[in-house]
């Protein structure tokens, strides 16, 4: 075979890196903004598109899909061709991928602050954008596989196994979790309801962490760490075992986000045990990364790149031990809904993802520009500031989470809650929120140093757009060497490797989701639970639009401390008409599942207009626009029809005469408000009326005395 010369296209690598840095800074600045909003609620500016509930989704999506996402693509577009000794197969697909992805991010930046959201965490984008994501993601996958098929290297290196598993699994997760019925161009309802929707969502949410923030980044680790340290990978057989074990086990662990909820117990238990079994497969990656640096520790002292890698991998190890421990019910009972969870998540994103990205940037950009890094000192300064930033971020949040949880659970000897007023437990931890904002700011300052360093480096070098390399293609005939390791077989069969990955991830998904959908006993029906009225349904959409579920859960767990505070614990049968479910995952404010009927309409009215008027010290934003805007009924009928399609039993007569029922309830509420508040200026078609209707409905169906009987 003749040696062939070819050129790697570095343009898309460079473009994705630039996008990583730009979006990274933006996503993190949004993060700092919302962190400050929790300390100074006036920073919500009484402006709809600037409130916490909407910006939080922008921050999470930005950090995951724009910051980490672009960095993954940069890393793959650099490492994949070099590991396969062939350029990326399609210039068109690369281009489509890059610009398509950026457009999707722009679409997110526009729609999320506008409140266009499906409410499902890390999948908030509405259906047209979901379709765009699927198309662009496929273009990436096709480009990758095409490249693999054109390779000059017979066997696939471990990094590529991770890329392949990432591609198939993310496709699966994205499609299933975003199955939704469009109502209008920018509004849809999840086809799943209540418990099932929750399970699908957290199967997705957990595995977005697993297969978007973990497996592709492990792939990058397997390329860039041995490259930067110039050391061989520690153990090939460890790579094999931990790769397969990781993808197989990871997919099962989703239900650990739903411990003590209305999810059936068996599913919760699967979530717990598979999380525990996940510790060692995850640590396999950590060991292989850290031990690859054996014999290079002297370099770590000087090199900022290796420092970033070491802390990144260590953070990965810490987060993947903490995660399984949080999946134990007794620990989860303390940590869930508190700031402990964001602390855990940020060890992963700021530590593992962020530091991997910084390490790769400092290593790769000078290479692309055929120069050396402008300043090692500045890079080291970045490292220390960012490390300090993570510490300031995470430690106060651990303290806050623990403190608040204990306050929630503390009883007086007479059986009443010591902190019966939820707000007391919030004001207690605001200093911690301030420290957290400081930590985030430090982290951003570090990134600014990187931007300076990168700009100086780039301007001192010359971009190498087409990089020459040469290799000998492998022949058709393969003589299997004697004593070949069994796993080599699949390493030269990319399609089989992809299919096997898919089968392995399907097992866990099917085993958990299908029985929850099919077996009736998993969700006992409750006769008194009725569909929302049309006004309540519209109110619910306002709740979704404003992102209320970012701070309020709707899931009272079976703890004495919760039933004493909120009322009867939530039952699976209460959510059968909830498309999508709105259980939430964090209680910055109190749970709302039993708020219906707890306060008079006037309380909600005043509270939404000016939270501090009813709850002094509250950090909730004010929602003045709900009092100015008229409830749009443009799509109301379509909404009802969509619900009927999804199996919600609205009578035909009700759908046809929805306007009558809507106005009837609007007027009744407005009338009550006028009685309760003097000189009130309220119109019955104000948005606030719909929201009050929804809030007053929450959790009341089951308050009827005959619930127990109906349930059996």
């Amino acid at each position: 075979m003749q040696r062939e010369t070819f050129y790697y296209n570095n343009r898309w690598v460079r473009n994705f890196m630039v996008a990583t840095i730009i979006w990274g800074v933006i996503a993190l600045l949004v993060g700092v903004t919302i962190a400050l909003q929790l300390v100074f609620p006036e920073l919500n500016l009484d402006t709809s598109w600037f409130t916490f509930g909407r910006l939080r989704a922008l921050h999470t999506n930005g950090a995951i899909f724009a910051f980490v996402g672009n960095s993954i693509f940069a890393g793959v577009y650099y490492s994949l061709p070099r590991l396969l000794k062939t350029p990326m197969a399609s210039e068109f697909l690369s281009k489509l991928h890059f610009w398509g992805w950026q457009l999707i991010i722009v679409a997110a930046v526009i729609t999320l602050p506008l409140g266009i959201s499906s409410s499902k965490e890390y999948a908030e984008l509405e259906w047209p954008i979901d379709i765009a994501i699927a198309v662009i993601w496929l273009s990436f996958g096709i480009n990758m596989f095409w490249t693999i098929l054109k390779r000059r290297e017979r066997h696939l290196y471990v990094a590529i196994w991770f890329y392949i598993a990432t591609f198939v699994t993310v496709t699966l997760l994205h499609v299933v979790n975003n199955l939704e019925l469009p109502v209008s161009f920018l509004k849809s309802y999840s086809v799943f309801a209540g418990v099932q929707d929750a399970l699908v969502q957290w199967w997705y949410g957990h595995n977005a962490v697993a297969f978007f923030l973990t497996t592709p980044v492990l792939g990058l680790m397997y390329y860039f760490v041995p490259k930067a340290a110039n050391r061989p990978v520690y153990s090939y057989r460890l790579s094999i075992i931990h790769f397969w074990a990781l993808i197989f086990i990871y997919i099962w662990a989703g239900p650990h986000h739903l411990l003590y909820t209305a999810l059936p117990d068996w599913a919760q238990s699967l979530g717990t045990v598979f999380s525990i079994m996940l510790i060692f497969p995850s640590w396999g990656g950590m060991i292989n990364g850290l031990l690859t640096l054996r014999g290079a520790w002297d370099k770590v002292r000087e090199s900022a790149v290796l420092k970033f890698f070491v802390v990144a991998i260590t953070a990965y190890g810490m987060a993947t031990l903490e995660g399984p421990l949080l999946s134990l019910k007794n620990i989860n009972a303390i940590a869930h809904y508190t700031d402990w969870i964001p602390a855990h998540v940020h060890i992963g994103t700021l530590g593992w993802n962020g530091f991997m990205i910084f390490g790769i940037t400092y290593w790769l950009l000078p290479k692309l520009y055929r120069t050396s890094l402008y300043s090692q000192k500045l890079a080291n300064a970045h490292f220390w500031i960012a490390t300090l930033g993570i510490i300031f971020w995470a430690l106060p949040m651990y303290v806050a989470g623990f403190t608040q949880s204990l306050m929630w659970k503390e009883f007086n000897p007479d059986g009443t809650l010591v902190y019966g007023n939820f707000l007391e437990t919030v004001t207690q931890i605001i200093p911690m929120y301030a420290l957290r904002a400081l930590g985030g700011t430090l982290y951003v300052v570090g990134m600014v140093l990187m931007v300076v360093n990168v700009l100086r480096t780039v301007s001192s070098g010359k971009f190498l757009a087409n990089e020459e390399d040469s290799a000998v293609p492998f022949g058709r005939v393969f003589n299997k060497p004697k004593g070949e390791y069994w796993h080599r077989w699949i390493e030269r069969r990319p399609i089989q490797l992809m299919v096997l990955s898919l089968v392995l991830v399907l097992i866990g998904g099917i085993m958990e989701i299908v029985p929850t959908m099919m077996v009736e006993s998993n969700i006992p029906t409750i006769k008194s639970v009725k569909p929302y009225t049309v006004l309540e349904l519209e109110g619910r959409d306002i709740y979704i639009r404003e992102g209320c579920n970012a701070c309020h859960s709707q899931m009272v767990r079976p703890f004495r401390s919760e039933t004493a505070r909120y009322g009867e614990y939530s039952k699976a049968g209460e959510f059968v008409y909830d498309h999508p479910f709105l259980w939430g995952s964090k209680r910055t404010g109190p749970d709302l599942h039993r708020v219906g009927g707890k306060y008079p309409h006037s309380w909600h009215y005043n509270h939404m207009l000016e939270p501090e008027s009813m709850s002094p010290g509250s950090i909730m934003p004010a929602y003045p626009w709900l009092f100015e805007r008229t409830l749009s009924t443009k799509h109301t009928k379509e909404k009802l029809k969509a619900m009927v399609t999804l199996g919600v039993p609205y009578e035909e007569e009700y759908v046809d005469n929805y306007e009558f029922y809507l106005e009837q309830q609007q007027k009744a509420i407005a009338e009550e408000l006028r009685e309760q508040i003097e000189d009130i200026q309220v119109k019955s078609d104000d948005e606030i009326i719909a929201l009050i209707a929804y809030l007053q409905r929450l959790g009341v169906d089951i308050k009827a005395k005959d619930t127990e009987l109906a349930e059996k």
């Binding site: 066997h155 153990s235 057989r237 919760q268 809650l417 306060y599 008027s613």
Partner: protein, 321 residues
């Protein structure tokens, strides 16, 4: 390569797993008794020492073998690694065994014959601590499912909750036997003590001032300083209004957030505001109320909320909790 290190590890892990298997039974009384019995622990210790002795003797024999071999000049027959290991102290040896890594100087022995873009791979053994950790986590999973879903010895969420409630009832009953926090709207009396009224004032400032103004002059809620009352101006009426609220008019119930003694204090404080002059008094609402002269217990006014008959235990109003 199966060596004696692995054998020890297997033994150790088997023991651990055996112990773990007992966990499901620990809750049962018999198992608890067993664990409490000193004889059990003596037996465990004896077994442990026997195992330790066996290990020590094996080690010793091996060392002797090593010295014998050396004397005969056949050191090279021992694998080099093992020869090196024998010179380390116990912890270094343990560490090396748990790691089972080829030393860097000799890693070329296990370097694989392929490379990808210059990246080479070693073929180190799986670290034993990692592998056994993995096995233990799997054993944990099996036992966990077994306990919760097959044996049913561990409580599921709903059972756990019921148990919590039972415990809470017991604790509460225990407390109430001795405590006197039993003020309710049928037996509440006006407090006169300045210190207690001051505490009531604090509660008022924290919870009530938002709607009724800091000086009681009213705002969203009615003026509390005049003699006009919508729901009655007797201490019992005020207490009941605070406790149950008037949801229809926007007054929320405080019974879940304040305990009876606190509600008594704040109600007394409110009544102590009678006749003061607030900065921005709200206009009068409701009916004028006049306290029955010299009648301390007070009679129930017509519009006071119906209350359940109370336990007439001695009332110690100074008791705070």
């Amino acid at each position: 390569m199966k060596t004696k290190k692995d054998t020890y590890l297997v033994g150790f892990v088997l023991l651990l797993m055996l112990g773990a298997l007992l966990v499901p039974y620990v809750e049962q009384q018999a198992a608890a008794d067993l664990l409490a019995n000193p004889v059990t622990w003596i037996v465990v210790l004896v077994i442990f020492f026997i195992l330790l002795s066996i290990a020590a003797v094996t080690e010793a024999l091996n060392s002797i073998k090593y010295f014998v071999l050396r004397r005969e000049g056949r050191l090279h027959e021992l694998p080099q690694e093992e020869a090196e290991t024998l010179q380390d102290d116990f912890f270094t040896r343990l560490w090396k065994r748990m790691q089972d890594a080829k030393p860097i100087e000799r890693e070329s022995e296990i370097e694989l014959d392929h490379e990808y873009d210059g990246i080479r791979e070693l073929d180190n053994n799986l670290p034993p601590w990692w592998l056994w950790g993995f096995y233990i986590s799997i054993a944990f999973a099996v036992i966990y499912i077994f306990r919760f879903h097959i044996l049913g010895t561990a409580p599921l969420s709903a059972e756990e909750y019921q148990e919590q409630l039972v415990q809470a009832e017991i604790q509460k009953a225990e407390y109430l036997k001795n405590a006197a926090n039993l003020v309710d709207e049928s037996n509440v009396v006006m407090l006169e003590d300045e210190a207690l009224l001051a505490e009531g004032g604090k509660i008022f400032a924290k919870n009530c001032a938002v709607c009724h103004a800091a000086d009681g002059g009213g705002g969203v809620g009615p003026n509390l300083t005049d003699i006009y009352w919508i729901h009655g101006g007797d201490i019992k009426d005020v207490f009941a209004t605070v406790k149950y609220g008037v949801p229809a008019k926007g007054m929320i119930p405080w019974k879940d957030q304040l305990n009876p003694s606190e509600m008594q204090k704040v109600s007394s404080y409110i009544l102590s505001l009678q006749g003061t002059s607030p900065a921005n008094p709200k206009e009068a609402q409701g009916d004028a109320y006049e306290a029955p002269a010299e009648e301390e217990a007070g009679t129930l006014s017509a519009d006071s909320l119906t209350a359940e008959p109370a336990d007439t235990t001695t009332i110690d109003t100074t008791e705070e909790k």
